[in-house]
Amino acid sequence: MIRFKGKGVYGAVAIGTVSVFKRQEASVRRTHVDDPAAELARVEQAKAQAIEQLSEIYEKALREVGETHAQIFEIHMMMLEDDDYNESIENIINTQSVNAEYAVALTSDNFSEMFASMDDAYMQARAADVKDISNRLIACLSGGGGEQSEQPDKMVVCADDLAPSETVSLDKERVLAFVTAFGSSNSHTAILARNMNIPAVISAGEEFLAQAKDGMKIIVDGHTGELILDPDEETERSYIEKQKSDAEKKALLQQLKGKPNVTKDGREIKIYANIGGVDGIGGVLANDAGGIGLFRSEFLYLESEDYPTEEQQFSAYKKVLESMAGKKVIIRTMDIGADKQIDYFNLDKEENPALGLRALRICLTRPEIFHTQLRALYRASVYGELGIMFPMIISVSEVEECIAMCDKVKKELTDEGIPFSDKVELGIMIETPAAAVISDRLAPLVDFFSVGTNDLTQYTLACDRQNAKLERFVDTHHEAVLRLIEMAAKNAHEHGAWIGICGELAADTSLTETFLRMGIDELSVSAPFVLPVRQAVRNTDLSK
């Protein structure tokens, strides 16, 4: 039994047989030709054949995934007929007297490089489209171009990466899941997997591909990105159980996907997801969350042996922003301390860590750590819709200090000529009673509030949340906590800020109506709760 972990792009458990994807990628050789005109004629013929194949795939996609997603193949056809693309092929054949295959491969490289070098994730993904159409053209030139041959039933297709046309060409009746060693969640392939309802895991790594052999039994968990090759009986049984409970939940999920979070009387609320690392993005998209309401940046510090550099942080933030493709992403600055201790921070041992030097307090005490994180965040801001959120606020002056630090970072970046978005929203966590009580003074300074109900409850009720013996005293629906939230909501709205809840209480559907009545604008919950909360919202009628 060997375990691997990738990134789940569509949730569900599949248990099947490995089928390593064999691409008929003829290696292209450069050969001299005496008759360029004959080569041009071959290109024309291959192109006609490729377009015919694509129009068949388009029809298949139209039936299976709908028009919006099938359109990519129409675009592929247009790309094949693109003047510049074809002129490039012709020129190479005419000027270099080379074979058509080579001319297509070279053109493919040039055009895909143009897209790959663009600073926009959507356009970078187009490089794969250029390669896809070019490979098809080359296959047609080589007399191939056929699709996959004999395959077993219940197969889990394992590949380095799959082109969109390859994904759609898979026989849905027999393909249970697919796993790719590389790939981005922004790719059309990942999007298609979600729309074809095929469990898929991407970025499984090269080692996975080296170990996966045809005929091996494999478990694919599209929720967690977990992959198990050659599982033992016990593991397999536990996954069969998971499959069953999935099936029940799925009925609920399927009905609610794509529907708005709107009450019977028309009040709409945003439902976002909380994640604790880049690998949670698959779950966010699979559960149809409208954005990320809380991205815990601590993992960068916890997974590291030393303070993560600006570059390391930048690349993680960039990845999450790009993957969310323009949807809101709220990143909370690091919340270290209390129950999350890190050796290299060299923090003193504290009597009361929950009331100690933690989160923003560390940032304001050691501004160099804060500075690095904010620089990374602002640099990444051009890749999506970023919100930055500061935790553990208790005073106006702390918020002012945070804003001053952001202004300093923005000025530095401007001076250095590094771009950043001017639409970054700044917000604070309302997780101390102090912040809730003075929320009228805090709201004018920020764009949004986000209520951290776990800490707010612990601090308001003076109950340590780590202490199991206190359970009978901890009333998570305590009136004091709810009044504080209501107060913060009123003050936020009076000063033009919006307010969300990102603590566990947000997923408590017995409170959904209460929150709606308070005027809460956003609920951020862990990904599997997005659709249950959506259902609760849709069942609510505030006019009654």
């Binding site: 247009m78 356009m123 493709a325 323009g326």
Partner: protein, 86 residues
């Protein structure tokens, strides 16, 4: 010759799908040339790869130049397309 500017509001810009539809629309006015310009670079809208290669993003302002026998109708159709989709 007709010219007009448009500032893209769609959050991901002129990506593959709208680029494809825009190119298709421009092609439907045979004999009329539709150029799109961003940051000094100008390309023929019917050339899909070049159009995508412009990398037009949200907030970018692009300038269209439409010239030919159908310029009136083409400019109107393209402006409407931009407003409806981007």
């Amino acid at each position: 010759m007709k010219t007009f500017s448009y500032t893209v509001k769609d959050e991901v810009g002129i990506h593959a799908r709208p680029a494809g539809n825009l190119a298709k629309l421009a092609k439907s006015f045979a004999g009329t040339k539709v150029m799109i310009e961003k940051g000094g670079k100008s390309v023929d809208v019917t050339k899909l790869m070049m159009l995508m290669g412009l990398g037009v993003k949200c907030g970018d302002t692009v300038n269209f130049t439409v010239e030919g026998p159908d310029e009136e109708a083409a400019a109107k159709a393209i402006e409407e397309f931009m407003q409806a989709n981007l």
